[in-house]
Subunit: 337 residues, 2 copies
């Protein structure tokens, strides 16, 4: 079996760490692993399959010996370095927002639109975490029932802001218990014991970038601009795993039991839905899992054809690192690398 | 001015405490205040306007000298004792779910349907907290634009489960920081750093009681069973104040700027909506406030006439104690007592 030299840009970050772990756990055919990060982290060590590997600097020249580079070092780093990596002969799988809506860049969830990897021009974008878990759950439903409209409200974990988000929540919770003042740094307001209806920046249409990602990325990956989507993105004091309350209206008659059966056999999905035993997906219990978990599947009595559901996934795994690694696996599957 | 003898049943609970505070703060015309609770709390003291008052036992005979009894001691206590209080000549304002859907009992939000107090038969029900804040915000919108459909997802605080809910969250957060095991007692699962799509018990239609309250109580108070409502009720690790992500579709064309203007002049509502300064209502900042706060008002591009909004209110104040006291004030206003 062919093996590949893989770089991870942002190797010391929350997603980068998870990318290394995911490559290892899935036994990705690695010839050489190359953790890359900012100059301040040069020489620091990460562990890959029991061996310490030194972090090198993500800069011009660093990509020459690589087949694939998984980027998760923020939009700026991707904008600057992804084209460099491509010019050095490397395929970039980019977790940032930099290229997602670029018409020359495929945006891919392997369970949703794997075939889009075939037309890449060096960069393949990894979608936004909230979009990934929503679409893994909705793809089989769309295929069978044709989705007309989605109304979604999210409950997003602080790890979406990386390690600083996690530290901020833990510090604020500690300050609260010690009756000390809470000073927000990462978020515009206190996140402990709060719900912030504000993720990423506000746009002219009064939606946030995070909300519009869910609209635009869905259209791009479903190859369908007719699906109507009304999103509200909210940060909640959860460490890891995003939850979503999703309301779906379909063209064809839809039934909760059929959806449960359909999703039971859908790739990347696990149904956790038994209200008689209080079983439904829970953020605090799903850290480190790979699937998109779906529960609370029930008929929406407010429209002719509709359902409500509760969808939870690990935002650092399927919402970021895992999906990126799965894109790399798809490149192998389609014999692109 | 006439003064009234007022009893508070469940005076030692989270809502009862807030009822006493609210009566005091609003300078309700009190002749005599009578805190009532279970036998275990007999003789304990509460403070009303600087004076200590002894808690008496909520039992037969305790209501003879009262004009009004505000009940917030759970559904069982209301079922058993509210009829007793009525038979002893007292008007009951009941915060539990016991009588809300009883066709002989008015269910009242003073900003929404104050006139319904007039046909009471001794008991007036105080609506569910999530319904109250939703309807205070939606009433002016419904009056002007005629609401067709509501899709709502809630972010509800643990104080909705009273003091035990608050203690459970604080204990679990502490256990988390100390790397100790978390053992849920009040909730079926861990509430710290989690989002539970489960409030109150599950019904045969796969919705929770909490969710169906939002449907049924809206129909009752709007005197309109045609409004379609699709609710998802979720408990989040917030101490106090419920937040709601509300999507509204209307018959008539609706505009975010008009809604902002309309709500700016609506009774009981405060608009907090300036995204240029990251201003929107936040649960952690609104403890102890009386109004229903509305922000993130924006056009819903997914339907012809629709808006999205973010609605926050103190679940123990407007969601419970304050609304109950305002019902009592409405009784005075309509010369019923």
């Amino acid at each position: 079996m062919k093996k590949y030299s893989v770089g991870v840009v942002g190797a010391m970050g929350a997603v980068g760490t998870e990318m290394l772990k995911t490559l290892e756990q899935r036994d990705f055919p690695i010839e050489k692993i190359k953790p890359l990060d900012i100059a301040e982290n040069r020489g620091k060590k990460v562990t890959y399959k029991g061996e310490e590997v030194e972090v090198e600097v993500a800069e011009k020249g660093a990509f020459k010996d690589l087949d694939i580079a998984l980027f998760s070092a923020g939009e700026g780093a991707s904008q600057n370095l992804a084209p460099v990596a491509v010019s050095e002969g490397c395929i970039v799988i980019d977790n940032s927002n930099a290229f997602r809506m670029d018409p020359k860049v495929p945006l891919v969830i392997p369970e949703v639109n794997p075939e889009d990897v075939t037309w890449h021009n060096g960069i393949i974008a990894n979608p936004n975490c909230s979009t990934i878990q929503m679409l893994v759950a909705l793809k089989p439903i769309h295929d069978k029932y044709t989705i007309k409209r989605i109304v979604v409200s999210t409950y997003q974990a602080v790890s979406g802001s990386g390690l600083p988000g996690i530290m901020e929540l833990e510090e604020q919770v500690k300050a609260y218990l010690e009756h000390k003042e809470i000073k927000p740094k990462v978020y515009p307001h206190q996140i402990a014991f709060n719900a912030l209806p504000h993720i990423d920046t506000f746009l002219d249409n009064a939606y946030t970038k995070e909300e519009m990602k869910m609209v635009n990325e869905t259209h791009k990956m479903f190859h369908n601009n007719d699906i109507k989507i009304s999103p509200t993105a909210v940060r909640v004091p959860v460490i890891r795993c995003h939850s979503e309350s999703i309301n779906v209206e379909t063209q064809k008659p839809i039934d909760a039991e059929d959806v449960r059966e359909l999703l039971n056999h859908a790739p990347g999905v696990k149904v956790l839905d038994d209200i008689s035993s209080n079983t439904y997906p829970l953020a605090a219990e799903l850290t480190g899992t790979d699937e998109v978990y779906v529960g609370r599947i029930r008929k929406d009595f407010s429209v002719e054809n509709g359902i409500n559901m509760w969808v939870v996934a690990d935002n650092l795994r399927k919402g970021a690192a895992l999906n990126a690694v799965q894109i790399a696996e798809t490149l192998i599957k389609y014999s692109i690398i």
